[in-house]
């Protein structure tokens, strides 16, 4: 299309009166960038718009303004990002111009996607950071939970031991063996509580000297024929208190004495250390 033909169509184009075919031809010509025809289009578009000034301005209902601003407030991020003007007129072009527009379009789209991907990656990194923080928090909570479980198990064990002790102390057939700290430590004392019905016994010691980790206290039952039977090992806390509970198959009637010696850690089959506590059964 030549400029002369285009200039005849432009006034009609402004008021939307061209056929589709005529409009496409004119748009193709304008898309070549013809400065004269594009300037003419701008001028006649303005002339057409001046016709609106013939009309007396109306007063819109205030609700329209309120609706608009409310919608904008709700969708503040709905503003379309700026894109090259050529992108919007690609359809009106042909040949080389269309190729140029297509290239510009691809560049614009590529840039847009690059920007989009960059933004998504940043969002992903932020989400990963939040996920790591959550994981760390979960690990911390898990460790606390496990510690609480262990504490609970320990407390349950202590409760169970206390219950056993209580039952033992309440038994009708309870025998008590008193052990004294002679001759090593006069302040140390010990007691054995024996339930003849269940054959359970409990040993308690107080005032014994705490031992190094390489050593332990060991309890011995000494029968009437002077046989020494190991009854278990125990340690005492900082205040010198210690406890040992066990079941014995033998009849305590055969036991004539009870002694505590200090032995290597883990205990021994035959006593090797010095006697720390000793007591005889009546």
């Amino acid at each position: 299309m030549m400029c002369q033909q285009a200039s005849e169509l432009i006034p009609l184009y402004v008021v939307g009166g061209l056929s589709d075919n005529e409009a496409r031809q004119l748009q193709s010509h304008l898309a070549t960038g013809c400065p004269g025809c594009n300037a003419m289009l701008t001028e006649f578009t303005t002339v057409g718009a001046t016709l609106a000034l013939m009309l007396p301005p109306a007063q819109p209902n205030p609700d329209v303004h309120a609706s608009l601003m409310a919608r904008i407030a709700r969708h503040k991020d709905s503003v379309e990002p700026r894109t090259p003007g050529l992108l919007r007129r690609w359809y009106a072009m042909s040949g080389l111009a269309a190729a140029i527009v297509l290239a510009a379009t691809l560049i614009a789209v590529s840039s847009y996607w690059h920007l989009l991907i960059t933004q998504k990656n940043q969002q992903l990194a932020a989400m990963q950071d939040r996920l790591d923080a959550v994981k760390s928090n979960v690990n911390s909570l898990t460790a606390k939970y496990q510690a609480a479980v262990q504490t609970t198990a320990l407390l349950q064990l202590q409760i169970k031991q206390s219950e056993m002790t209580r039952k033992m102390f309440m038994a009708k057939q309870l025998q008590v063996v008193a052990l004294a700290g002679k001759p090593v430590d006069k302040h140390a004392v010990g007691r054995i509580f024996y339930n003849a019905k269940t054959h359970m016994w409990q040993f308690c010691a107080m005032g014994l000297k705490p031992l190094p980790p390489t050593k332990t206290y060991e309890l011995w039952f000494i029968t009437k024929d002077h046989t020494k039977k190991a009854a278990g090992t125990f340690n005492v806390d900082a205040s010198g208190d210690g406890m040992l509970t066990a079941a014995v198959g033998q009849n305590m009637d055969q036991v004539s004495a009870v002694a505590v010696t200090d032995e290597p850690a883990g205990g021994v089959a035959v006593p090797t250390g010095s006697i720390q506590l000793i007591g005889t059964l009546q």
Partner: protein, 202 residues
Amino acid sequence: MRQCFSWGVNGLSVQSQSADDYVLMEAIAAGDPAAMDRLYKKYSGLLLAVCQRIVNNRTDAEEVLLDVFWELWRRASRYEASRGAPVTYLITLARSRAIDRKRSSKTGSLHQVDVGELANLNVRANQAADSPGQAVEFAEQGELIRTAMESLPSPQRKTLEMAYFDGLSHSEIAAKAQLPLGTVKSHIRLGLIHLRDILRKG
């Protein structure tokens, strides 16, 4: 220099107001609601008049007005200053959307407002404008356009109004005015050229 063509035709402009419109359009494209508020208050009366003239229904016109400004909010970045002043863009957009509404609803009855009748409506115009100064400006601009339109031969003026405000195709105008299609095109083309020449002289 007259203030009639603040958005306008060669050699005539009021730079301060025109520049303000460009700034507002940039701000709207950047997502500034306050800029949209200002532009709405400035031109909603004018655009509603265009919409109402085309769809011939107040409620429909206000819906179109809302759609136009909402579209402007979302797609202000599409505006190209090289294609004309912001107000030209707004009027063109409003006219296009109003014609779309009219064609889709088929409820609007065609009517034509005689240019002479419009001259008696300046009081309403003054009331609708955003500020007294702007009202005076709109009134002055409207008076100049009306004078220019009245200077057109009647067939050109009426044909131009049917094309621009009624959104009729050239064939529809030819059938309605009982004129040959070529004559209709000629009237529109010559009418706009005549109007342009008058506006150029200011």
